[in-house]
């Protein structure tokens, strides 16, 4: 169980997050939604300890995260950032780096076994010794998710995991995220801009507006009003073959 309690954060004089509180259970996928600059990425960085909040606390299974060492936090929470300036490295070595919080001095058999298990689970074995520079965007995202999973986390934080992917890769990536979350009983928080995709794959939805929680809840909480309030745009939510799709509307559209 992940519990975020009254988090406040500001960059110099600008308040970015105010009184953010929510809880997420194991096996939950929580989509974090909101306009650009609403504090979504900042929230993820605070949860994994990259940024320190002005005040407020993050608890994991009842334990305050600030009481843990950085290494122990990394054993529990994995963060995949939005953009990574990669270096030349094989996929195997990149995923192996995810074992860093568990490695004391040298790689153990358990570390290698874990990397293999994850590479197999994510169907990356065949490209295990390709250079990360040679990979497509979709493959690279998968490698970073594999690296995050190598940390054996309880909480997975993904910052815009499908932003740079084509529609096929987006579907594959979201399916993968859902599969591993359920299979490994993780708590997954993901920042996403595509509300339709979020409705289709996530369990809970956290809408941020002006650094505050506007709405937090399940699918039923997403309404045209919420979207209008958060994104300042009219939208309808249509149902196509049982799938909810958010359709933004402009004044000139004749629907």
């Amino acid at each position: 169980m992940l519990k975020v309690e009254r988090i406040n954060f500001s960059y110099k004089d600008r308040n970015v997050l105010e009184e953010i509180s929510f809880e997420a259970s194991k096996g939950d996928i929580v989509s974090i939604l909101g306009v650009n600059g609403s504090g979504k990425t900042t929230l993820l960085k605070i949860i994994c300890g990259i940024l320190k909040p002005k005040n407020g606390n993050v608890y994991l299974d009842g334990r305050l995260l600030t009481e843990l060492t950085k290494r122990d936090v990394a054993k529990n929470i994995a963060y995949m950032q939005q953009r990574v300036d990669g270096i030349s490295s094989t996929v195997f070595d990149t995923v192996l780096l995810g074992r860093r919080p568990h490695i004391n001095f040298e790689v153990s058999k358990k570390d290698l076994d874990k990397v293999e298990e994850i590479l197999t689970m994510l169907n990356l074995s065949e490209i295990a010794f390709r250079n990360t520079h040679e990979l497509s965007g979709g493959e690279l995202q998968k490698v970073f998710i594999a690296r995050a999973l190598a940390q054996e986390p309880k909480v997975l934080l993904l910052d815009e995991p499908i932003s740079h992917l084509d529609i096929k890769n987006q579907m594959e990536m979201m399916t993968l995220i859902r599969r591993i979350t359920k299979k490994m009983n993780l708590t997954t928080l993901l920042v996403i801009h595509d509300i339709s995709m979020a409705i289709r794959f996530a369990d809970k939805f956290l809408f941020l507006k002006d650094g505050q929680v506007h709405v937090y809840g399940n699918k039923n909480t997403i309404t045209s009003d919420v979207i209008k309030n958060v994104y300042l745009i009219d939208a309808t939510i249509e149902n196509v073959k049982g799938i909810s799709i958010v359709l933004p509307i402009l004044k000139e559209d004749k629907l």
Binding site: I50, Q81, D85, L97, R100, F105, L119, S125
Partner: protein, 361 residues
Amino acid sequence: MERLVSKRQLELNSKKIYLNLIGKKLLVGLFLAFSLSIIFFYSLKVGSINISFKEILSTLLFEEKSEYRHVIWDIRFTRSVGAIIAGAGLGVAGVIMQNVLRNPLASPFTIGVSQGAAFGAAFAIIILGAGQTHITGNEMVTVNNPYLVTISAFIFSLLSVVFILMLSSLKNITKESIILAGVALSSFFGAGTMFLQYFASDFQVSATVFWTFGDLGKANWYYNKIMFLAFMIPFVYFLIVRWDYNAIQWGDESAKSLGVNVERLRVISMLLSSLIVAVITSFLGIIGFIGLIAPHIMRFLVGNDYRFLIPYSALAGSFLLLLSDIVAREVLKPVVLPVGIITSFAGAFLFLYLLIFKRGF
């Protein structure tokens, strides 16, 4: 079922391939160590007195009986050991600086640390009186108070480090700007050294000029021991935290999410690598390009894995410096050139070669 089998095969293969690659990287290290041993032995033959390999070997094994004991042990052996330690130190300092500054052009020479150390050494010799130099039988200028010179060199090299660290912490600073700042620092310390020399005595000037040359002729057992200590302590630390260097290559946030205390690592690493450089520079003078080239050569051979890059940069640095010193002793025989001239010449060409012909450099 067929799919399960093929997956298992892939698993077995990927682990096998990984271990195979590790084995190959270890072989590179062994080859480097072997090559270093060979040129080390050869370096004992290089000098104005012609001594055969057989005589060298017998001197090394049965030193009491040999007439070449003094030449082999006290001059050539000392000099070559000095080259190995200094080369290793510069190579390691370079690879660590390139990592924590996330800049492939970073090295003690390019970010002004060497020049800061040289200025510190000059300052100690001329202003603080550590430079009551004397001419030895080999026409080498030595310093009476190496502690003072080293401490002063360290303090001024730290000034460069603090400046570069502050600069690199600025958000909108580019990698090129850091190197340009290094050029400015080098120029600043160079001017400072010249200023001190202008008011110094002939002996003091000769001592400080000697530093700018970077010469292994200054090596002696006492210096070698201190250089070895100044190299080993940071080297062990670097090896212990080598996974953190692997993590930091993917960016600060990536490293932090893997549990690395990035700020602490950066400060400690820069301090320790500048300590190595300061000690080497205060004893031997400025030796350029080893710290830049050695890590890049190893990167081509073993990739970006710091488990190998750190020790191999040390080996490559030793190899390059010893080889340069052999060239320095041979090229204008019987005149022995300061090794700094050779490393700068060779380094410049090697660097340009890597830049032009090796993509992704």
